[in-house]
């Protein structure tokens, strides 16, 4: 705190050029916080889906003429799957669950008991020892004609590509907001150098190093940056919490809500010291480069 309250030789309190810096910083940090939270949420989502679905296979058996045929086919398929190296767990979904899965497409017709339904077998596999898909499919088709194996690869790769692209856009927004913050601080610092030119000349003439003058601008900029960042992060936290509550309330179906991981919250909070450091460093470099041109 001593650093924040220490006296300065420059009359910053009379400097209008930096009056709006905390609010501009607050807005930038607010946007950066949302972008960063988005990056983490999308990254977590991609990892979850990637990990979850790459460890499963779905085997679909066509409906038979009667219940006994279905049972025989399911038993044959399960026997083959359980004997396959790399398969960890095999679960035949009960007809009721299959009907639930088909409801979004078939509506009430899915409940009709006379409707022939395919049998679905959920297979968990060992990621380190993934079974050869083509061989497995061939063996299943020999035992159960028309059996199909889906490793979710086709639609998952497209979905993950879209997710990663969105994540990249969020990172880009985060970097652009950072660059805009640096630009704002550079502009404000240069304006401050103009406002305080006469005082700086006197300080130079009594033997002040550029580093001494730059340190005063840097501390001032850091204090204003921290103030703005605190406001921005607090506002963003409120918005993120509200979005989480709203998502839960609305129930976003298959998509997860915007509940952020602890890592994401830590990253957002770390924007506070990061902004302070950025403001300190930007002001310091700006002042040193500008003063180097003075005698």
């Amino acid at each position: 705190m001593a650093l924040l309250s220490r006296r300065t030789d420059l009359p910053f309190e009379r400097d209008d050029s930096s009056r709006y810096l905390p609010w501009l910083t607050a807005f930038m940090v607010f946007l950066a916080s949302l972008a960063l939270a988005g990056v983490f949420a999308l990254s977590d989502l991609a990892s979850t889906w990637d990990k979850g679905l790459s460890e499963t296979l779905t085997v679909q058996l066509p409906a038979g003429e009667d219940e006994r045929t279905d049972e025989r086919r399911a038993a044959a398929a399960i026997k083959i799957l359980e004997a396959t190296e790399g398969v960890e767990e095999v679960t035949l979904l009960p007809p009721r669950q299959v009907r639930e899965l088909l409801k979004p497409w078939l509506g009430a017709a899915a409940d009709a008991s006379q409707l022939p339904l395919p049998q679905i077998i959920d297979v968990e596999i060992d990621r380190e020892d993934i079974p050869a898909l083509a061989t497995l499919t061939e063996r299943l088709r020999r035992a159960v004609p028309g059996a199909a194996v889906d490793d979710h690869g086709v639609w998952m790769s497209g979905f993950l590509r879209a997710l990663r692209s969105t994540e990249a856009v969020a990172v880009l927004i985060f970097l652009l907001v950072g660059a805009a913050t640096v630009g704002t601080i550079v502009f404000t610092t240069r304006a401050g150098l103009g406002v305080h030119r006469e005082v700086i000349e006197v300080m130079h003439l009594v033997g002040a190093h550029n580093r001494y003058i730059a340190a005063q601008f840097a501390v001032r900029s850091m204090v204003l940056g921290l103030r703005g960042a605190a406001i921005g992060i607090f506002s963003a936290a409120l918005v993120l919490i509200a979005l989480g509550v709203l998502a839960e309330f609305l129930g976003f179906g298959v998509l997860p809500g915007v509940d952020l991981s602890l890592g994401a919250w830590i990253a957002v909070v770390l924007l506070l010291p990061a902004t302070g450091l950025l403001a300190w460093l930007t002001a310091r470099i700006t002042v040193l480069r500008s003063l180097a041109r003075m005698v």
Binding site: E198, V199, M203, V206, V295
Partner: protein
């Protein structure tokens, strides 16, 4: 070091204008005391600016404390400037700082501890008769008081070279004589002093040599000067 200031065929012009200083060559030795005279526009302030490192010559060479300023790196300036005290004609006090803080500035920029600064500044402000005005803002002080603050700021770091531009311009003859006495005291302590002034009574009240500028050219009039006194401590009871 046997030279504080050395000018060799120095010329100075501003932008594309005419030379305001032409072929200046002189040397100031340690402990010397000079008046700098000349009409307004003769180049006195320009010459002072060259000596306090606010300008570089457009030709010729300027050496301060044995160092050619053309060879100085930016990082060398602060150390040299700390050896030079300057009293500006318009004082150039920082309006947002008290008399105490204005005088403390040269010590703060040199990194001295606040406890030491307090001791030195209070002692000096008392010595120049401003012990009651340490917390005063410059705008609340009279011209003479502001001048004494400016002088205190110039001498607080015990400079080897003291440059004063019209230091008696805002005070009556009685205060002017006291200021001259102060500069002579500092000179006796070994500080090289140059005072730019129009004040004829101030000049005639002593026998220090005169550097006279006319149309940018310099002549030096040596008068019968008393020898430099031996170094003695500044008396704390002395008042301006």
């Amino acid at each position: 070091m046997d030279e504080i200031v050395r000018f060799q065929t120095v010329g100075l012009r501003y932008g594309m204008g005419p030379e305001v200083l032409q072929d200046l060559s002189f040397t100031l030795t340690p402990g010397s005391f000079h008046f700098l005279t000349g009409e307004s526009g003769a180049g006195k302030s320009s010459l002072m600016r060259l000596m306090y490192l606010a300008k570089k010559p457009t030709r010729g060479s300027v050496s301060l404390f044995g160092r050619d300023i053309a060879s100085l790196r930016p990082d060398d300036y602060p150390a040299l400037r700390r050896r030079i005290g300057v009293v500006f004609q318009e004082f150039r006090l920082l309006p947002h700082q008290t008399a105490f803080d204005n005088v403390a500035l040269p010590l703060r920029v040199s990194g001295m501890k606040e406890k030491e600064i307090k001791k030195h500044v209070e002692e000096l402000l008392t010595w120049v008769g401003l012990e009651e005005d340490m917390a005063a803002w410059p705008e609340t002080l009279s011209g003479g008081q502001q001048q004494r603050v400016a002088i205190a700021r110039a001498v607080i770091a015990q400079p080897k070279l003291l440059l004063a531009d019209e230091p008696t311009g805002n005070v009556d003859d009685r205060i002017a004589a006291r200021l001259l006495h102060l500069f002579e005291e500092l000179n006796r302590l070994g500080t090289t002093v140059v005072i730019a002034t129009h004040n004829k009574s101030l000049i005639s009240s002593s026998l220090h040599p005169i550097m006279h500028l006319e149309d940018g050219r310099l002549s030096i009039e040596d008068r019968e000067s008393e020898p430099a006194a031996t170094v003695e401590a500044l008396p704390r009871s002395r008042r301006l």
